[in-house]
């Protein structure tokens, strides 16, 4: 032992950090380099636009004309304009109807219903029903939108043919109802799968003991199933509300018409800012959308944390 006389020493920082303690010995420098490209893209194309939208909302920026060359700050004028504009409020109300009707009520109820009646089944019926529901969900939005245009067409649409109706044009006569039903059809799969997974986690012994105690189907649902899946219901509600709120697909069906009867906020922003060229005003509306998203997302993340 050449160094047997060395006294025990406390390592100074330099010695202790001479190499890296993570599993692969990557070290902070290289780890930083690994994260950098992703962060650069996210900053440029996600964070920066979000901040830029705040700035735009305070300016009179336009796509063309004098204000395009030299935009000026107009303070909160755009927000004042939006909040006093009846079109903004009608659009907000339509969005509320759309989210409430298609997501909060439609997809949740239909998704749960399918998951519940299919819960102990196997075989072709389950596979066909689930396959069709998922198919409606995975097909590209441009394709399914056209399929519904064809389905609901006034002259030769399949719906009119099947029901032997004439001159019934849902997209013109009941445009809001049409996009709500469409979105229920389109999005029920997510809720179905989430509730399917949740119901699979309800311990069968709990259901059996409730059945032994003589509980009816409804009582089993209320006393055994619901307490187990409460967290899933909330998760599901928040996620599909967020998605439906930001969904641009109604544009593909009705382009906001007729007469702005389906101009939900996502379509409204497009019409005002990119068709009408009022970027400043459009940005103010986008800011409102961002804020609503933020509230829902923070609520959702708090829920996730409390679960852990």
């Amino acid at each position: 032992m050449a160094q047997a006389t060395l006294p025990p020493e406390v390592l100074d920082d330099a010695k202790a950090r001479r190499y890296n303690a993570d599993a692969a010995g990557l070290g902070r420098l290289r780890a930083g380099a690994f994260v950098a490209p992703a962060l650069a893209l996210i900053s440029l194309f996600l964070v920066f636009p979000a901040l830029w939208v705040l700035y735009l909302g305070l300016s009179n920026y336009r796509l063309t004309g004098a204000a395009a060359a030299a935009p000026q700050s107009v303070g909160f004028d755009n927000f004042v304009k939006a909040l006093t504009d009846p079109e903004f409020w009608s659009s907000t109300w339509l969005t509320f109807e759309f989210v409430l009707g298609s997501a909060v009520i439609g997809q949740v109820v239909l998704g749960f219903l399918i998951a519940w009646i299919m819960r102990d089944r196997t075989g072709p019926i389950k596979r066909i029903v689930e396959g069709l529901v998922i198919l409606a969900w995975i097909l590209p939005s441009a394709v399914v939108s056209f399929l519904w245009v064809a389905l609901l067409d006034r002259d030769g649409g399949t719906l009119n043919t099947l029901l032997h109706l004439q001159d019934f044009a849902p997209l013109l006569d009941h445009p809001m109802l049409s996009i709500i039903v469409f979105n229920i059809w389109r999005g029920a799969a997510f809720s179905m799968m989430l509730y399917g997974a949740a119901l699979g986690n309800v311990p069968p012994s709990h259901l059996e003991s409730a059945r032994l105690a003589g509980a009816s189907g409804w009582q089993q649902l209320r006393d055994v199933v619901f307490p187990h899946i409460r967290g899933h219901v909330l998760t599901n509600l928040l996620l599909i509300s967020l998605w439906t709120f930001n969904d641009f697909t109604p544009f593909l069906l009705t382009a906001g018409g007729p007469d702005g009867k389906t101009e939900v906020l996502s379509v409204h922003v497009y019409q005002v800012a990119l068709q009408g060229g009022e970027l400043g005003y459009g940005a103010a509306v986008s800011t409102v959308i961002l804020l609503i998203n933020l509230v829902v997302a923070v609520f959702y993340l708090r829920l996730l944390r409390s679960k852990k």
């Binding site: 020493e9 390592l11 010695k15 010995g25």
Partner: protein
């Protein structure tokens, strides 16, 4: 092959938890050394600090005559078998064994040949093309061993090498591992929480508790003369009887009985002193008749251990255990007497062994 020496080794985790508290330890060249202790005692941290996977907060690790405290794990010239073996699931057995050589830039043909040699030595010839997922636990363990053998490192580190095997295989692997280590003669440190495993395999062992080494010694020393009540309670498949007593001349009052002062403590005790009297059930001789210096009581439990029985006597409210050979086990409720062997009984003062 090299010795391993630890000097004042300390590891404090960022949260302030002291996992290793100024440990000193010398493991001579070629020794099979066990680190034993309950979970959370720091034994795995110690092994990982020797490997360099944890950085020491203070002190030094010396392998051979080289201070490697600040050296990368890969440059310490050691090899390690992980608890889950860490065989790469996407490589077959040959590639797994040859991986250390691939890192050392050994030519492909040479390293395949070397892998085949080592594999053959451990009886893996038929399995060289398989993936780890297609191997049994015992086979996986042998591949992991072959992989460290291929490195020709100065020292081997095994983290709980047997814990992933089922009970029957574990005994077989124990024998195999001990034989292999003796043949190779490479300094080897292994971690275990199973005292029987440590006693069976190790040349010497260290018993650890909350970041401290409580005793270092050969298995026989640790078993027969535990240095403190912690080790006494931890070692042995049946725990040692540790009975409160008071010294009365050359006898000790234990559970209202009088037993003789053990040989190891003769002349070292003060009259009237409070001590703990320790005797392993194996060294407690049971008899149905009363004798001088015996612990007498009623038989409250009889447990079958196979060739022997573990008998628990209720001695005036204090449970005392003794091992009885088969065929001589008493009935429940019998009157029974246990006579501790004077050459094996021990005295603990303030938790530490009293001895010359």
């Amino acid at each position: 092959m090299s010795a391993i020496e630890l000097r004042g080794l300390t590891k404090v985790y960022p949260g302030g938890v002291k996992a290793l508290d100024s440990l000193d330890l010398v493991i001579p060249d070629g020794e099979f050394f066990a680190l034993l202790g309950p979970s959370g005692c720091g034994k795995t941290t110690l092994l990982r600090t020797i490997a360099g996977l944890e950085t020491a907060t203070g002190g030094a690790v010396v392998i051979g005559d080289r201070d490697v405290t600040g050296v990368q794990p890969g440059a310490r010239d050691i090899a390690m078998v992980f608890q889950d073996y860490a065989l790469f699931p996407h490589m077959n057995v040959t590639d797994n064994i040859a991986y250390p050589l691939r890192i050392k830039k050994v030519a492909r043909a040479t390293r395949q040949q070397k892998a085949a040699e080592v594999g053959a030595r451990l009886g893996l010839e038929q399995l060289m093309e398989r993936r780890p997922g297609q191997l049994s636990g015992g086979q996986q363990q042998r591949v992991a061993l072959a992989r460290v053998m291929a490195t020709q490192a100065q020292a081997f580190l095994f983290d709980e090498p047997l814990s992933n095997l089922d009970a029957r295989l574990r005994l077989e692997a124990r024998t195999f591992l001990k034989k292999l280590q003796h043949e190779l003669g490479v300094t080897t440190v292994f971690v275990t929480h199973d005292q029987a495993e440590a006693l069976a395999m190790a040349d010497r062992m260290a018993v650890m508790e909350s970041g401290h080494i409580r005793q270092i010694g050969t298995p026989a020393e640790v078993f027969q003369r535990p240095a403190n009540t912690f080790v006494a309670g931890f070692i042995g498949s049946t725990p040692m009887n540790l009975l409160d007593g008071v010294v009365r001349g050359d006898t000790v009052d234990v559970a209202d009985c009088k037993v003789a002062v053990p040989e190891s403590a003769e002349g070292l005790l003060r009259d009237g002193e409070k001590i703990v009297y320790g005797v392993r059930p194996e060294y407690n001789v049971y008899s149905a008749e009363s004798a001088d210096g015996s612990l007498g009581g009623t038989v409250s439990i009889v447990e079958n251990l196979g060739a022997t029985y573990l008998v628990t006597l209720d001695v005036n409210g204090v449970p005392v255990q003794a091992i009885v050979p088969e065929g001589r086990e008493p009935e429940l409720g019998d009157e029974g007497f246990a006579v501790p062997r004077r050459d094996r009984a021990l005295i603990y003062r303030d938790g530490e062994l009293v001895s010359a």
